[in-house]
């Protein structure tokens, strides 16, 4: 929240803290923009309209122009209450406005609206991130994979040849359970069983005629 008046600023900070919000309080528009542009920026801002440096409306405009900040929920706090002022605030990029002196119950209700919107946005952002991650895994399996014509190993990163099941398990969410297909049962397993049986039936070397 940004307000250059100590009384208004302390009042806002106090009630917001009591309602369970973590508050970053600054005293002018430039500091507000810096706080909102930082890495760990708050999802919502309450900005006084008239402040030293950038006004609350100018902060709104700058925020809306910055990549990655356009989703911030911005409330302009003002003692102006004409329709023209409200329109000017919304056109500058504010999501809401509140007239001073505000009633705490109204402030609380409006902040809750902002909180709902901010949570919804965060939830959508998390979902998109998860989808992008899943899509990246799929894409990794869609590329051109060099595979050995004989043993069917796949050439992985670093010129390392890897069994196909290991490779797919590493590059996707799949896990493998191993079994034997009917063809391999005929061509590999049965001959192997037959070979073992015959080796058991063969008489010991000393008993041969």
């Amino acid at each position: 929240m940004a307000d250059d008046d100590r009384v208004a600023s302390r009042l806002l900070e106090s009630v917001l803290t009591r309602w369970g919000y973590e508050v970053v309080a600054v005293g002018d528009g430039d500091a507000a923009l810096a706080a909102l542009s930082g890495g760990d920026h708050p999802p919502m801002a309450i900005l006084d309209w008239m402040m030293p440096g950038l006004t609350g409306l100018e902060v709104c405009q700058r925020v809306r122009q910055q990549d990655g900040l356009s989703h911030l929920y911005l409330v302009v706090l003002t003692s102006k209450d004409s329709t023209e002022d409200l329109v000017a605030a919304l056109e500058a990029g504010a999501d809401d406005h509140l007239t001073k002196p505000f009633q705490p119950a109204e402030l609380r209700a409006r902040v809750r609206v902002g909180e709902r919107v901010a949570r919804l946005h965060q939830s959508l952002k998390d979902r998109v991130t998860a989808l992008e991650r899943a899509l990246a895994d799929v894409t990794r399996l869609q590329g051109l994979l060099p595979i050995c014509m004989y043993c069917k190993k796949i050439r992985a990163d670093g010129n390392y040849w890897q069994q196909v099941d290991g490779y797919i398990a590493e590059h996707s969410g799949a896990t493998f359970t191993h079994g034997i297909c009917p063809d391999c049962r005929e061509t590999r397993v049965k001959p192997e069983i037959e070979r073992i049986r015959q080796s058991h039936q063969r008489p010991p070397a000393g008993e041969r005629p």
């Binding site: 008046d5 100590r6 009384v7 302390r10 106090s14 009630v15 009591r18 003692s79 001073k100 705490p104």
Partner: protein, 118 residues
């Protein structure tokens, strides 16, 4: 609030979510900051700087309205409007009344008696 009382303590208490300790804290901040702002306002009036008058009057209006000083807040608004319009004769007319009313507010809030109204 009576007509003669410069501050409506009940309104002030409502504005601070009925937090008496917070109201006491805000009144202390107001009593510290306001004389400085009133002096700055007087300098702006003396310099004939309408925009500076508007800026100072606006800053004073916010805290006056939070603390239930309606009359002083109304005068601050009129002063802000006149200053922004560059109407210096009107600024001159309004500023004396505003300063007088604000001093009443400061006297009322500097007297520990206002706490009895909480």
């Amino acid at each position: 609030m009576t007509d003669s009382s410069p501050v409506d303590i009940a309104a002030a208490l409502q504005n601070v979510d009925r937090d008496k300790d917070l109201l006491v804290e805000l009144v202390h901040a107001f009593c510290e900051d306001t004389p400085v702002r009133v002096r700055a306002l007087g300098e702006a009036v003396g310099a004939g700087d309408g925009h500076a008058v508007a800026r100072q009057a606006h800053a004073l209006r916010g805290s006056l309205s939070i603390l239930g000083a309606r009359r002083a807040a109304e005068l601050a608004q009129a002063l802000e409007t006149a200053g922004r319009a560059g109407d210096l004769p009107q600024v001159g007319t309004l500023s004396a009344g505003f300063v007088e009313e604000t001093e009443k507010v400061l006297r009322a809030l500097s007297d520990p008696g206002w706490l009895a109204g909480l």
